[in-house]
Amino acid sequence: MSNVAITASILPKDSSWKLFFKTVLARAYPRLVGQQREKSWMFFDIFLPILSIAAYVYVYRAIGAPEEYIGFVVMGGAMTAFWLNVLWSMSSQLYWEKEQGNLALYIMAPSSMMAILLGMALGGMLATLLRAVVILFIGGWIFQVRFVIVDFWMLLLVFFLTMTALYGLGMMSASLFLLLSREAWHLANLAQEPIYLISGFYFPVKNLGFWLALSASLIPLTMGLDAMRQLVFPSAAQFGFLDVRFEVIGLSVLCFIFLLGARFLLNYMEKLAIQEGRLTESRR
């Protein structure tokens, strides 16, 4: 009997929830640790949003906007880090895995794909949180933004719900991207500026009008950002789209829909991709 076989027979076999959580942690690990190892990525992840923030801040200054708007831009700019992470490292992640040949290994492994996606989300969220906080502090410091937290626990709740719903959306769209090939890159690329526009990253979303803002609220960052602005800038309540309490309810509903949708779609798309032979397809 070989050494490997002996070791495998001695080790206790994980199954069910234990295997699920071990998979989550194992997939979160490279996101948390690996992303910090490549220092240049960290620099660009912080530097690029700050450039955008600066450009929009100077536009506001050029047209004589009130100072609150500078704070809105800094906060919106920091939140772009999460959107970009969901877009490029969640939604299109299974496409990257397919390109690298890892996807087939994921499917063959005796662990749940849902656990793999959850691990990606957890690791990505924590790694991005670090970047977003740095962007917020540097942006706030450069442009002298004054943050006054109105209700800390409510802010924490809104942030938690926004992240859960956002990464739930990422997990759901990841399963859709499973079917895509090189279109995935273009579609992820397409979902940047239009989402910045309709989600009000650089202006209060209320200005888009009620129905458009409501439609845009399907993207969790729309309501999340609006609520967080109201909780961090006391004067922002007048610019708010909805009352924070309604936004908390809306975000909770989105959490439920997206997490459930992710589970359903992942099963369905995996079967479809296997049937159509697209899991290992690589059309560059």
Partner: protein
């Protein structure tokens, strides 16, 4: 003498063939992933959205006062800046795309291809896409946002010449960046975007340079894009664009001369930098290094 003529003709033939085929290849890569209709929508939604962000920001603060001269300044600057993102970043991106994604760099190097001409050719598809986006954005502005361009009064010859020189300048800047990319092997997708982002901020594309802190303004004056955008704006909207003090003391001809001088400078600079980087990349064995896509 005849041998020299033959050599020049042969070199030109290789340059042209590399450029032409790379243009075709670039267009296929950019466009054939979707049907033409979907591709057209994709090409227009992104630029129109980025313009719409600025329009909404402006209209919130000014109660939609589109008659103010700052509005065409912002709108046109943003529209023409699309060339920077597409042409400059596009050319440099081709290095990463071919090396890391398609893994064809070593085949290109072993083929009878003039690599700088190939890279410039890869930028043509992006130039075409950018041109469509710029035209649609400007027409949209004229139809719906009171961007007042008197088409009969525009000096089209001067305008097109300025546009062309600017695009050549951007292509040369892209070539410089592509040279640097040859030396960077850790999936440096951020470099092109960082340079484009910095130029967006410092070239006065969407706000007059006076808005920047005093110590940052000189960076803007050193950049050829600042003069290029100013001249394009002036040629389209005349006095409106020159109503800001930044470059008021320069006439159109002076701006054009500055642009020509800086473009010539970049022509020489890009050739030197690209050759130096390429030689270094060969020495270090980086030409076909793949760091995982």
């Amino acid at each position: 003498m005849i041998a020299m003529q033959t050599h020049i003709r042969s070199s030109f033939s290789i340059f042209w063939r590399s450029f032409r085929l790379a243009t075709w290849l670039g267009w296929q890569i950019e466009s054939n992933w979707a049907d033409p209709f979907l591709f057209a929508i994709y090409s227009l939604i992104k630029p129109l959205s980025s313009a719409a962000i600025l329009v909404i920001m402006y209209s919130i603060i000014t109660q939609a006062n589109f008659d103010s001269p700052i509005f065409p300044y912002i709108y046109l600057g943003n529209a023409f800046y699309m060339y920077v993102g597409h042409v400059m970043t596009g050319i440099s991106w081709a290095v990463i795309d071919d090396r890391e994604h398609y893994k064809t760099m070593k085949y290109i190097y072993t083929a009878p291809v003039h690599f700088p001409s190939y890279l410039l050719g890869r930028g043509v598809a992006r130039f075409i896409i950018a041109s469509i986006s710029v035209i649609v954005t400007i027409v949209f502005g004229m139809l719906f946002l009171k961007i007042s361009i008197n088409l009969t009064q525009v000096n089209w010859g001067f305008f097109l010449l300025t546009l062309l020189i600017g695009v050549v300048m951007l292509a040369l800047m892209g070539l410089t960046l592509a040279g640097v990319m040859l030396l960077l092997v850790h999936h440096m997708f951020g470099v092109g975007e960082a340079v484009a982002g910095a130029l967006y901020l410092f070239s006065g594309a969407i706000f007059p340079l006076e808005v920047l802190p005093v110590y940052l303004r000189p960076i803007g004056f050193l950049m050829p894009i600042t003069y290029w955008l100013e001249l394009l704006r002036r040629l389209l909207v005349g006095r409106v664009a020159s109503s800001f003090p930044t470059l008021q003391s320069f006439s159109n001809v002076e701006l054009f001369l500055i642009l020509i001088i800086l473009t010539l400078f970049f022509a020489v600079f890009s050739v030197i930098v690209f050759r130096a980087c390429e030689n270094r990349a060969k020495e270090l064995g980086l030409i076909d290094t793949v760091t995982n896509y």
